[in-house]
Every structure is written in C-alpha cells, then in structure tokens.
C-alpha cells in the first residue's frame, strides 16, 4: 500500500539520465505529456483515474538517507549528484484531466512542466498510477454499461495483482460506476460502500445447508443474501433458501433486502428457474444476484437471454481487466524551453509506425460539445494560448487522414478546456473530490458520449483533432527531420 515513500519507485534509467543532466548542467524546463494510444478492450473511450494518488506521490517525493545510501551502494552515482538528490523536491507545474473524465487516445491526460531532472524522475510512478487506475475505471464503466442499470459489485481482491492492485483497483472500479466493493480496506480508505455476505465455507461448516442458511438469516435479516450453489442449486440451494425465507415471513420478520446468489452453472437457465421457484413461493421481491467469471460481454449476453439477475458481482475480469490488462500510457517529451526567450521549442519523436509519432509543443485540449444534446462532437488538441470563438464555424479534420473534414457550425457548439492546473511551482493547487463524487461526475461524463461509442464491438471513434497551428508545427518538424535523414 503506497502510503510508504515511493520516491525510489522509478526505473533505474530515470536516475542515470538525471545524473547525466546534472553533470551536463542541464536545467532547462521541459514539457512531458502522458497519453495513451489505444482505448482498452478495443473500446471507444477510456476513463481517466489515479490523479489523487499522483498528487500524494508528488507531494511525498523525497530521498531519505536510506535511499541515498542505497543509491550510493550501486556504484553508479557521484557524491555531488547524491547531494543534489538528498534535498530534491518537485518544483514544477502539473496539469491534468480530472478523474472520471471520458478521454480518448493521443490527448495528454497529464502534462508535466518542470526542470528536466524533475520531469524525468517522476515518469515511471506517474505512468504506473495513471495506467493502472485508468484501466480499471474504464473496465468498470464498460461492465456497468452492460448491466443497464443493475448494480455491479467489485469482488476481485483475491485475484488482484497484489494489495495495491486490489485497493486502488477497487477505487477505480467505484469511479467507473460500481455500487460497492468487497474490499474492506478500500472501503475504509476511500469511504465507499463495502458489500458481501458469505462463502461456501460458511455452508460447509454446518451439518447441512438449511442450518447454515437459517443461522445466517438469524444474524443478518436485513441483508440476507444466501449462496445457493454449494451442493445443488435447484434441488437443494433454492428450496432451502425458500424454506428459510418462509420461516422468516411466518415469524413476522420483515423481508426487505433478501435474495440469493448464484455462483456457478448456467446462469441464464438457473436464474429463470430460481426466479420461478421464488415467485411461486410468494417471494417476488427476493433478488437474484450472480457471480462467476463475469465480464461485460457475459453480462450483455445474459441480459439478452433474459436472465433473471438484477445484481452482479464481478471479480477477476474487472480487477485485472483480464482481456486487456495494461493501459499502455506513455510519457513523451513534447517541448524544451529556450532559457533565454522562455519560449517552448516543440520536440517530436519519429517512429516507423505513424501512430507512434508524438504531438509536439505546449498543448492544451478543448472538448467540443453539441449545444443541443450535450454530447461530445470532437476533441481538439491545440497550442496553449490559442483562442477559439464558438460563434464561428470550426473545421476539424482527422490528423492521420487529413482529407476527412467536418464543419461544426458556429453557435451550435460549446468549448471546454480539459486540462486543469494541479501543481504550480511544486505546490498542489487542486483538491480531489471524494471517490463517490468522482463517480457521480463520471456518470455524467458517460452521458456525453453516444451508445455507438460505448458499445463493445466496432465502437464509433470520437475525433481527436489537432488545431491548424499545431498541425502545421508537426508537419514542419516531420518535414525537417525527413530532409535531415536524406543528408
């Protein structure tokens, strides 16, 4: 759990490069962008998450005497550099897209403006945090979307990739829209609802299933969810649950929040069968929840089959984002400040893969909303300082296939800048909302994209375009480099 000092949570090369800049007296201010290239799970969007932990990380950056001793022991770093590290503080600016925001490929989720040594050091941890939480928040949003209003519970701690993955994964899952988590520590740390009832071992620890159910109902009459598949769901589990519910009804115990959980077998068939058995016994309001290797695809399929499930516990596939367990965010140098003029000189990284060529310069992002529907028309990456008038027509074009142009008529759209200041001169100027508030914000964000973008197969891509000015700078840099290469 990352309350410990994470200053050494970095790739070794960040430190060797830092020493290199130190030795060369390189103190220029640079701009790095953290962005990603493809939406997880071949989807149409992602959800930004992790900023609050980035803030913690940056605020606590400091090399302890033990850290310095350890680095000294590696026989790579000189004393003057170690001295510098011993009083290291982050003094730069950070801009970020707030957590819970719907985001798209190639737009900077985070922009670091800082002396090169500082900007370099923080690369790895920033990516670790943002990549992980954005991945799980995105997966959660997908699962929640598939459930069409049913509650999704995050149940994955035991399959998470370590304690942090469980705890911060649960946080991200809540941001993405889960109604609760089984993870008690996440509940404590982030003030989010924790949920859960009992396991098969509870049933097996009693002489028979009926006794186990009965004891559980005695203890928790207000949250009585009985797991019915330890022996035989239809022949034993559901009849025993009905027997206990009947006894509760006869004893005058109010039946409010009660039902069963299916954890194996054919969930479509079992849920319909169980629904009928419960209804026939007069328990129309008993819920049926399910867990068992669920994900967004299976939930969508079960709902289309008419499964009688209204509450879903999702474990492994959510907490690991199993079909796509890495977000792929990168951190690329975008500009170097001229120390005399203060101007940012754009930098570009080439690649044989066009998609991997970076966007140079000191950038910001404008989101273009349709005035009438409130839906996103496109995002526009522009240079800091560019001004757009929403009363004028705007022509946007695909940055790769530039002949694909769209005109957005003046007066029909609204602009919002996405990157907000989080650190200024090393001081945090942003206060994170609570996780439940971020969840509410994320729910509204999900309303700004169409179902066509949210669907799982061949989703519609939202355009992320470059301003004319930025496009020209990029094209000029590319031209110059390709000419240089011919020399």
């Amino acid at each position: 759990m990352s309350t410990m000092n994470l200053t050494l949570l970095t790739d070794f090369y960040e430190l060797t490069m830092m020493q290199g800049y130190f030795k060369n007296h390189t103190t220029e201010v640079v701009i790095f962008d953290a962005f990603y290239r493809r939406n997880p799970c071949d989807g149409g969007y992602a959800i930004a998450a992790g900023l609050d932990q980035v803030i913690d990380y940056i605020e606590n950056l400091s090399f302890s005497p033990d850290d310095i001793s350890y680095l000294r022991s590696l026989n790579t770093f000189d004393e003057d550099f170690l001295d510098y590290l011993s009083t290291f503080k982050f003094t730069g600016d950070i801009y970020a897209i707030p957590e819970g925001t719907v985001v798209f490929p190639r737009e900077p989720l985070l922009k670091v403006v800082a002396p090169i040594m500082e900007a370099q050091l923080v690369e790895t941890a920033l990516l670790t945090i943002i990549n992980h939480q954005s991945l799980i928040a995105t997966k959660a949003a997908r699962v929640v979307y598939a459930a069409k209003g049913d509650g999704i519970m995050e149940f994955g701690l035991r399959r998470a990739q370590g304690p942090d993955a469980g705890v911060y994964g649960a946080r991200a899952a809540m941001i993405g829209g889960c109604v609760g988590t089984s993870n008690v520590l996440a509940g404590q740390l982030f003030d989010v609802p924790v949920k859960g009832t009992h396991a098969h071992s509870w049933i097996m620890s009693f002489l028979d299933e009926y006794t186990a159910f009965k004891k559980y109902a005695d203890l928790y009459p207000d949250a009585c969810c009985l797991l019915v598949d330890t022996y035989d769901t239809i022949k034993s589990g559901v009849p025993n649950a009905i027997r206990v519910f009947t006894e509760m009804r006869e004893a005058g115990i109010p039946l409010k929040n009660y039902g069963i959980r299916l954890d194996s077998g054919d969930l479509a068939y079992m849920s319909k069968k169980a629904r009928k058995m419960l209804d026939d016994a007069g328990f129309e309001d008993a819920f049926i929840s399910a867990s068992s290797d669920l994900d967004e695809y299976l939930i969508e399929s079960l709902k289309s089959q008419g499964a009688k499930i209204t509450s879903w516990g999702v474990g492994t596939n959510l907490i690991t984002s199993k079909d796509c367990p890495a977000f792929g965010g990168v951190y690329k140098l975008a500009a170097i400040q001229d120390e005399e003029t203060g101007e940012f000189i754009p930098k570009i990284k080439l690649s044989e893969n066009t998609e991997k060529i970076t966007n140079p310069g000191n950038k910001t992002i404008f989101r273009i909303y349709d005035k009438e529907t409130g839906k996103i028309r496109a995002d526009l990456i522009a240079l800091v300082g560019e001004v757009f008038d929403d009363k004028k027509d705007m022509i946007i074009f695909d940055p790769l296939e530039t002949w694909k142009k769209t005109k957005i008529h003046g007066g029909t759209y609204v602009l919002k800048e996405l990157l907000i200041p989080v650190f200024q001169k090393g001081k945090c100027v942003y206060s994170s909302p609570s996780v439940m508030d971020i969840q509410a914000f994320c729910r509204r964000e999900m309303d700004t994209i169409w179902d066509e973008t949210k669907r799982f197969v061949n989703p519609h891509d939202v355009y992320v375009d470059l301003s004319d000015k930025l496009y020209k700078i990029k094209a000029d840099l590319l031209e110059k480099m390709s000419m240089d290469a011919l020399k």
Copy 2:
C-alpha cells in the same frame, strides 16, 4: 506498498462470517487449502511465490482502534465481536510449499490449520499475495526458458497494476530467473540487481543523436548501452553508436560492457543488420539488447529466426502476465476437527464441474523423483501420517481417469515432502531465503521437469495423484452426498 497494516485487506464477507462463527460460539479448528486448478498460460507447471509476504501479513495481523471504529461505522458488527477483534491474533499453523518450487494444479501451496474465525479472515489476503507472485514468477520462468540462457531484464514497472504490482512483481520476476529489474525500489527492498540506461527523452533533449550518445558514453563508459531507434535505427542510430564506440576505442577507453538497444521495428531484421554493422566496424563484442512488447512466444520466434539479440528487456507482458493476468488460486475448506476426538473430519465441495470438486481431509504432498535423472515422476497427495516405502513398487493413477495407472518400481524413486511448517501456534518457525537464493533454488527446480513440460504448446502434464486412502475418502464422501441428494 504493503508495509502498512493490511488487516482490513479482506473481503467483507470474511468479517460477516467471522461474526457468525463468533455468535454461534464456533471455535472448531479447521483446515483450508490454497490451491489452483490450471497452470497459467496453458503451461505445464507454475512457480510458487509470495510466501515471504504472507509471513509479513500474518505476523502483522492486528485491528487498530481506527480499524475497529471503521467497522463499527458499518452498522453490521456488535460490540462483543468488535471487542474480540480488537485483541485478535493469528494462533494457528500454516504449512507451505517453499517459494521457487515447481508446482502443479490441485496441490495445496499453502495449508492453514486454525480456529475457523482466524482461518476465514486470512483467506483473501493470502490469495491476493500468492496468486499475484506465483503468476509473475511463472511467467518469468517461461520467458527465461524461451531465452535459452540469454539474460532477461524486468522492465515493466510503468505498466504494472499499481505500485505493489510493480515491486512484488519484480520480486517474483527475479525468483523466476530474471537477471535484473529496472525497478529501483524493488532493488532496494529485495537486494536484487537493478539495470537500465536511458530513454528516448535523453536523445531528444540534445541537439542531435550523436551528441546524446557521446555524452552518455562519457558518463557511463562501463555500462554503455545506447538506444538507437529514436530517429532511424539503421540510418542514424547504429552509425552514431559506432561513431561513439570508435571514438572511445581511439581514446583508449576500455570497451567492456557496451552495446545497443533496439526498441521498435522488425527485431529479427534490425538485429542482424546492426550486428553486421557493428562487426564490420570491429565491435564484435558489442551486445545487442532488445525491448518492444516482448514475451516468451516472441523471444522463441526471434531466436528461431536467428535474431542477433543476446539480452532482452521484457515489460508489460511479463509484469501483467498479459495473456493470462490471473492465477486463479482458491481457498477451500478441507476438514473440521472434532473437538472431542481431535480427529479431522474431511469436508468436500461438490460442483457440476468435476474438476472443481475439492480434495477433502488433512493432506500432505509427496514429490516422487526418478533416482537416476532427478526429474519428477509424479506428485502424490496423501493424508498426513501416511507412510510410503520407496523400496516398494508404487502404483499411481490419474484421479479423474482412474484407469490410467503407472507402476513406479521400488528403488528407482526418491520421495520428498513438499509442505513445510511456516507457522506453529501463531509463531513463525520459518525463515525465508534471500530473493537471489530463491532464484538459485528455482533454477534447480526447473531442472527437475523435462522440456516436454516446459514447452509452450501442448506441454506434457505431470501427474498429481491421490493416495489410495485419500481417494477412497473422497469417493465415499461423493457417494454419500449423491445418495443424500436422491432422498
């Protein structure tokens, strides 16, 4: 990072069940087995890992006053139960297979013998830790196997699922055989080699690639690995690297540990081309390392194509075990002690899926080695107390397809018990070796299985059989339950 108190790192239902046992005065000692059902990545084996963190977790189990207040705030737990928790300690026994051991499906990696409330509480965190580290250690062993003696470096921190996943993932990767990690914090915590040189940003921060290389070589002549793909690997990167190496040679700087890193493009082609260019310039001993979405399959393919790479940096696909990001370990009740006789009464969980039926009773595991080759013939799950004479013939059989029998002749095999005591009456009686010692042990373990089991496609399964006595207990329990169901 899990040095903080992880006592609440548990599923909520562990606590509701605990309170249930508490209210019912259930104090029986029970046995839970932690085991898994399928090898990761459709492989033939797994590597056990994570025990040292399990020990930390168990030793630090304790509900703080804040934890108790938090639990009280959930309006689910009574004061008498919270009182009990406030002085909670783990008092049971734990047996485990040592880290670095080659393991197979269905054998308990960990066995907990404890009062039911204690055994229940620890379920989630034990699984989180063991599942994660065993997964990554297994993946690392596969990648190392593919590299046929070349060094594998763990480079995945930025794509890990949070800080712990990076740090403990690096630990597990070292156990599985990596020669180093880029993760500095893992280096500090576990005393393992850290490695790394520079990123594209280093190159881009200078006016040209040559200057960037030159400056780097000046600083780190003894570990001079130049990243050659920022602009154009063959036209620019390799020629500039050769220019710098040539200048070093001319200046009389000893060229020992030097070479290039390829990070994009067609690695088979690029490495052959770069090898020829380096050789032609007289740098036959310059290494070529590579990184770029590598995994065991790609490394095996590149080696079969004759790629001239001898050092591999593996990131995302190793640290997340991308094609199989969850280990799937479970924790199942196996027996309940009769409080009068002290005897363990075997318990079983049925399932419609035969593979998911648990093995009942208080068990241990014997590994059967071939005396001549030292390779594993089979594993045998037996009841504690069963004695086997390695001078006698042993007939083993597949527990699912019982007609598949093999006779192992007396005198040709050696037996070793795999589970060793780790906690006794709540006290740790085991001292973990260093990570590098576990790595050395794991290397020897990998020699106990044949290539047929290590290969990636259709690996040969090592038999994990049940002793006659255990098999009979299981069959009797199944028979009894199926008869009960007919009543």
